[in-house]
Symmetry: C2
Subunit: 456 residues, 2 copies
């Protein structure tokens, strides 16, 4: 490994210049006017995969943006990694809040600022450079690797499930590696072993056929905005516990050792509260903040709309009201089952004075792997070698549906090894990646292939 490390340290500056080229392509999948840029980015990605020495590189068309594929399968008898990432990026609005142009990568204070720096081009590129170092210096990799990079991650990965289903044989592997997440905190590398799932629904209530004058009719009919408030208020008790019958039935309790691990993490509640600008933290009684966010399910109102919402006063009795509601799920809650329990409960508590329309929108399964999975342990050793520090094992409150996809369709565990930071601004102006973490990530990735090879 020494000559590989030398190679990486020697080419550090070149990596940055190449990464800048990658970040210059505005591959915004959400905006039709950037469709050409998205394809150009796929092509650039494929060319780079060829340059670093991967084989079978090609664009695989989908009904949406192409998947970029490449592999190196010369390590007979060694495990096979399926590496997943994405080459599309988020939109940049509000662009006036960027301190440097989003598609002209700029280095300030050891961080590279550009859309896609952390999410996910920078982290994909880190693996490219680790693979390159292995192949240029030794002509081989210690493991087999298959890379799939999609161009629709930022718009919901609509075609990915079908792609994975229809390429099961080609994608056969032993473990999935994904680098598309932040580490626990600056200086605290981490491996994420659990993600929450999601159920998203919309409630529409109608009280009357049209808006009414609140003077002429107020008092005679139910007000759908008030009914909505009453319905939502019945979803949680004062201790923050969700009241949907059966909601907690399948929740896997936190193990004592997990709780102990969480407690050891350097998490400062006061700093966290201040950064969020909250007068006071609030969550389910009996759990710490990290436990609430990582390992407990939630019920959140994502949107509310009824009646007059402009400046001033309008004495309207609204005809309709609307709430968008989502629940984050933890193992072993099932999104379909929870959506059904929620719908049943809403139908039960909504009074006969209004008409209810209940819409299930999307959902995703929660995911968790074991600390002691050999690949997770291998990743832990690789990170320690790249960052000089053993990683912490954390869970994440968000959802990465693709992880569940790989679990369900291919039966594969995933190693989530990210080098972003919690303040990386992934979906906001001034997205950035710490160059020290990038460099450590290239080294850790180079070790990761080695460590995974040694699991067999």
């Amino acid at each position: 490994m020494n000559e590989i490390l030398d190679f990486i340290n020697t080419h550090r500056d070149r990596y940055i210049e190449e990464l800048k080229q990658y970040l210059a392509i505005p591959s915004i999948s959400a905006l039709p006017q950037h469709a050409g840029d998205v394809r150009r980015c796929a092509e650039w990605t494929a060319e780079e995969m060829g340059r670093i020495g991967l084989a079978n590189v090609r664009l695989i068309e989908t009904p949406g943006n192409p998947v970029v594929y490449g592999d190196w399968l010369g390590a007979e008898g060694a495990p096979t990694i399926l590496f997943y990432g994405h080459y599309d990026v988020q939109p940049v609005d509000p662009v006036e809040l960027w301190e440097s142009p989003p598609f002209e990568a700029t280095i300030r204070d050891g961080e590279i600022y550009a859309r896609g720096a952390a999410d996910d081009k920078g982290q994909v590129f880190m693996h490219f450079k680790a693979i390159e170092a292995h192949l240029k210096k030794t002509g081989r990799l210690p493991v087999n690797i298959k890379i799939i990079l999609e161009g629709e991650e930022e718009v919901g990965s609509a075609n990915l499930d079908e792609f994975v289903k229809s390429h099961q044989t080609e994608l056969a592997a032993d473990v999935v590696v994904i680098s598309d997440s932040p580490m626990f905190d600056r200086g605290i590398p981490s491996i994420c072993y659990g993600l929450r799932g999601l159920v998203y629904c919309q409630i529409d209530l109608r009280g009357t056929k049209s808006d009414l004058h609140s003077g002429s009719f107020g008092g005679a009919v139910a007000n759908p905005a008030m009914v909505l408030a009453q319905v939502l208020a019945q979803m949680k008790d004062r201790g923050g516990r969700i009241k949907i019958p059966g909601f907690y039935d399948d929740v896997r309790p936190l193990r004592d050792e997990e709780r102990a691990e969480f407690k050891k993490l350097p998490f400062n509640e006061t700093r966290y509260r201040k950064e969020l600008g909250a007068p006071k933290l609030f969550g389910e009684t009996g759990y710490s903040t990290l436990e609430r966010v990582w390992a407990r399910p939630t019920f959140e109102v994502n949107g509310l709309l009824a009646g007059f919402t402009g400046e001033g006063a309008k004495t309207v009795l609204p005809a309709v009201s609307m709430a968008k509601v989502s629940m984050r799920l933890v193992p072993d809650q099932d999104p379909d089952k929870i959506a059904k329990l929620f719908e049943d409960y809403v139908r039960k508590v909504v009074p006969k004075t209004v008409e209810l329309k209940f819409t299930r929108m999307h959902g995703g399964r929660p995911w968790m792997t074991d600390f002691d999975n050999p690949y997770v342990q291998a990743a832990g050793r690789a990170i320690e070698k790249g960052f000089g520090k053993a990683p912490v094992f954390n869970r994440e409150g968000g959802s990465i549906p693709v992880v569940a996809t790989f679990q369900e369709i291919l039966g594969l565990p995933s190693v989530l090894f990210g080098v972003g930071l919690p303040d990386e601004n992934a979906h906001a102006p001034n997205e950035k990646l710490d160059l020290g973490n990038f460099h450590g990530g290239v080294i850790a990735s180079a070790f990761l292939y080695d460590e995974i090879a040694q699991t067999r």
Copy 2:
């Protein structure tokens, strides 16, 4: 009176043509681009008041739109009527829902369709024509009359209180007459003897300094949309009774004879429910629909806004939430006292997890006069002569703040004699006035001056 009635009957068609001219002026006080039209309408109104024979006609400037003033004070020893109305109109949006252009008055099935037909130009014009008939045929009126027509009624009458206060001497009178309301139902002329008051407030809650990702942060902080729902849900019990402490303390109970009168009115709950398109009527336990709307206070949510309200799903944990809330008041509730009770209760029930901003917007006192007030009785006789039928005495759920103004500042009772209909679409597309009611109203108005003269 016979020659006056002959005059009115003879000139019926001319009245409609003149009214069409009045309705052609788009005097929309809410829209700055119509400021010129509003002034043109004030001038047209003044010219018409001169044509019908009123004296001292002039525009009296205010910080906003002018008040049009005119009088006839030649009935020495007779009572003086202060007639109030307004020459401004509501906006016309959504204009595509009008079946004929809002400012080209069009007659269909005996009704004249135009913005302002009922609210309030048509009803003001009805009095103009009654005055004209008296003055043209007899050279005099049986009473003294002072007319003030404002141009800001549809935008909250911001300058009217000050105008009345600063012109108390000039406005001295015995009774106020206002024709700016609908009758109880088609074929059922009515006199309104009670109005509800109003308190309008806005509640803004802030949970965090910016919107958060519901995955990464859901469970750790209070959701201001959920807190808002919980706060609003605490404002009413399941029986529709308002839970603000002290809210009902000053409510004047319905008298048995009022309840008996209401019961006699031809009110069909099923038809009412179907016309509103409500699955089921709902209101305070222990009261009929008319009692709830006319004689009981309400608490209504007029608007709700939080988070993401567009198409689809966005997993946002909103930073802020907003509710517009208003209460209709009945005698002897005081708007300032009720606003204070409400604010105190909101401050008490809002948890410390969010920041509260409470804004009092506007308010108005409830109003009620007695059946047996001699002017009310005079109006009853006049209506019976104009419509061939004794009027019913009803209350109204809405508010006409100016009625309370005249009561408080000038110490005057008001006679509310309106010839609109409940389906007149006063603030909606296709506003209309029944021409039979207009004609009956001209005759009733002509008699009204006579009947009021005879009270002395």
